[in-house]
Symmetry: C2
Subunit: 476 residues, 2 copies
Amino acid sequence: MSEPPTHMSPDEFRRAGRLVVDWIARYMEEVERYPVLSPARPGEVRAKLPPRPPAGGDGVEQWLSDIDEIVMPGITHWQSPNFFAFFPANASGPAILGDLLAAGLGVQGMLWATSPACTEVETHVLDWLVHMLGLPERFRSDGAGGGVIQDTASSASLCALLAARERVTGLASNEHGVGGRRLVAYTSDQAHSSIEKAVKIAGIGRENLRLVPVDADFAMRPDALAQAIAADRAAGALPFFVCATVGTTSSTAIDSVRTIGEIATREGLWLHVDGAHSGSAALAPELRWVNDGLELADSYCFNPHKWMLTNFDCDCMYVADRAALIKSLSVLPEYLRNRATESGAVFDYRDWHVPLGRRFRALKLWFVIRHYGEEGLRAHVRRHVALAQSFKTWVEGDARFELAAPAPLSLVCFRHRGGDEANQRLLDELNASGRLYLTHTRLDGKLTLRMAIGSTRTEQRHVEAAWHAIRELAPD
Amino acid sequence: MSEPPTHMSPDEFRRAGRLVVDWIARYMEEVERYPVLSPARPGEVRAKLPPRPPAGGDGVEQWLSDIDEIVMPGITHWQSPNFFAFFPANASGPAILGDLLAAGLGVQGMLWATSPACTEVETHVLDWLVHMLGLPERFRSDGAGGGVIQDTASSASLCALLAARERVTGLASNEHGVGGRRLVAYTSDQAHSSIEKAVKIAGIGRENLRLVPVDADFAMRPDALAQAIAADRAAGALPFFVCATVGTTSSTAIDSVRTIGEIATREGLWLHVDGAHSGSAALAPELRWVNDGLELADSYCFNPHKWMLTNFDCDCMYVADRAALIKSLSVLPEYLRNRATESGAVFDYRDWHVPLGRRFRALKLWFVIRHYGEEGLRAHVRRHVALAQSFKTWVEGDARFELAAPAPLSLVCFRHRGGDEANQRLLDELNASGRLYLTHTRLDGKLTLRMAIGSTRTEQRHVEAAWHAIRELAPD
């Protein structure tokens, strides 16, 4: 028999683990000083890596040295308090440690039986979140509903679409494939690109996704939705799914879930609500208007990995009727059969999403909730909203700029009045400066800058410095 | 503005991180002593959790105490050297530390621009693996192919199926939906359940998946595949996809990729090869027969998270023509547009899989390869194969038992000659003893025990002890 490979001993793991923990702690202290957007050019990182795999025997000192020399110049610092791009992906100490513990335990929770705690802590913590966010009780696991951690809202939307497809066809699509009567899905023309991706993956086809027009605030026009449904029915198609967005990626537009839900109920459509970014706002009772109408939804998701201090990946998806989801995704081969599954007394989360295997992601969510508590998480959300509201008033007070959309929460869309070219130049100069990182969108056809406030350590001084840089580099 | 929430300070993170690292090191030392299969009953873990979320302020000591008291009794120990169930999910120190560093950096690599290093290290390490495993050069990123980390082989199979669907329909399915001409996919009746799941998700339908019969060794019969394709063509359907398995989950059956590939080439089918578990065998040159014919494949995947010491999740998927995959999955909204993407000089991995967001999973793979090196990883695979081959001879030497399938690698399928009931009782008693954990399958209609050897710390003495327990509890 060949020699056993040299595994890292527990003692060596202790030593190396401390060095990595210390490296991360130092990164937390210093992240603010890095240029936010990586200045690396394509191929620059790869060029520093050896063309052939190493012979082995490298230790933690060499890894960390290469992280410093090779990796760090190629990092865009999502954890910088000066990161205002895209959407936040705010990490935190408790979440990192929960993830670490999950890696150390190394369990794979595809079935309840393959680690009961992996399933039960997840179900339980997701029930806690129903309470913490004031979500409808029908999403709780002790009724017909329940929550599950998905990797991303893209996957949650896909699973919701599949459950809707199977509900409307009585599982015939799973059996015979999509085809026959034309299925039509609806979302606004401001919805996330994952809806289009899901519609393609599920075999529905992009041309059967109606991008419903929006109002002046970029929210879906329910009247236009109702008209589209009627027109499709008249043409012989079968409307089956609508996705409302509470806080679009582009501009935090808030669709009227209640009105859309009433239409969905009347028309027999599955209503999925995507609250990926903005859903966390409901931690604060005064912001629970984001949940208005949610009791009409069949499924809902929000991402603690965006704005609830929980490391990526962690999307919480809820369904009102878990059987509809499970029936759509369940396949049970002999080698996965077991007594607990057959008793019907347990959840096997593999039937709630695309992958079979799964990590113990609930640990990080559990630690975050225990560390911050309801009050701490509320304060976090309130602080970002307050900072964004200040930023909004500063924009309004500078005649060179205009707001491009309502900014009800923590994202402010604004633009220089000088037109697309001026805004593009301003954006490029700001990002090249390394002082902050902003991204853009296009609203009413115009290039628009997005100031997304939500990093773990973003304080007033960072937002002030960002505004200072913007004014400094903006043309008169 | 509300008070900022109390984030864990870098100093507190240092302290808490050490405690968690120490906890994991102790777990590594003690994991062997735990009963492998959790004895928890449904609801037992949840019953110990408070019904309401905590007020906050809990620290690492309380978390670890609850892990010990509440979570550990509900853990099935995948990292135990006495875990022989399902398939291995072998973790290692370097992988845990790579994952930790990824969590600490907290970057989200959906686009090259959102952290160039996250993409480039991944592409580079996956090219290394082409070399290390002796995979076809066409899978390298410097030609038309390339590799990407998916969460699981289930997702890789789905993406392969989607790319195949779009290739055969000229992207018409994405545009108009599945329908019109009937698409048919093929795999063996021993293939993983994820193929059936993928066919349902993609709107192809279960009845359009042909489960091709197998030979006496449970490998797909290429003659039966050819016949099925011909019959479907004659019936007006459009064969488009075949998945060959190199090492089935049930019994490590090895489909003839070469013969199936020749048929696929002749018939214009996309060939996906699923080497999720057994693919890592190719680390050892003398086991590279598992790659035979792989140069005919359009896509391939294997899971370092199964048998290459890399923590879940980490599936490596390769494609020969990356454009086919990317075209199938790409959607580009305005808010994700950027210069690097438009230059065409970079990979944006969000277009290679279902989710938009992604972690820096390449770090753990990088650290594993650096720590063990090619020789260390080879020794690891060889050791497990040698242990399994010993176990096989022990089974053959005991007249009460019979082998149920060839055992070319690290999984031995065997059964007591006393029939299903005797085997079920034996399995239940073994698993209830806590001394080891085995699972079952059904081969030739008979209940069969599976001895899957592949845990990081499984040594000869553990396999001997397992065999001792099996003989002790087996009826005469």
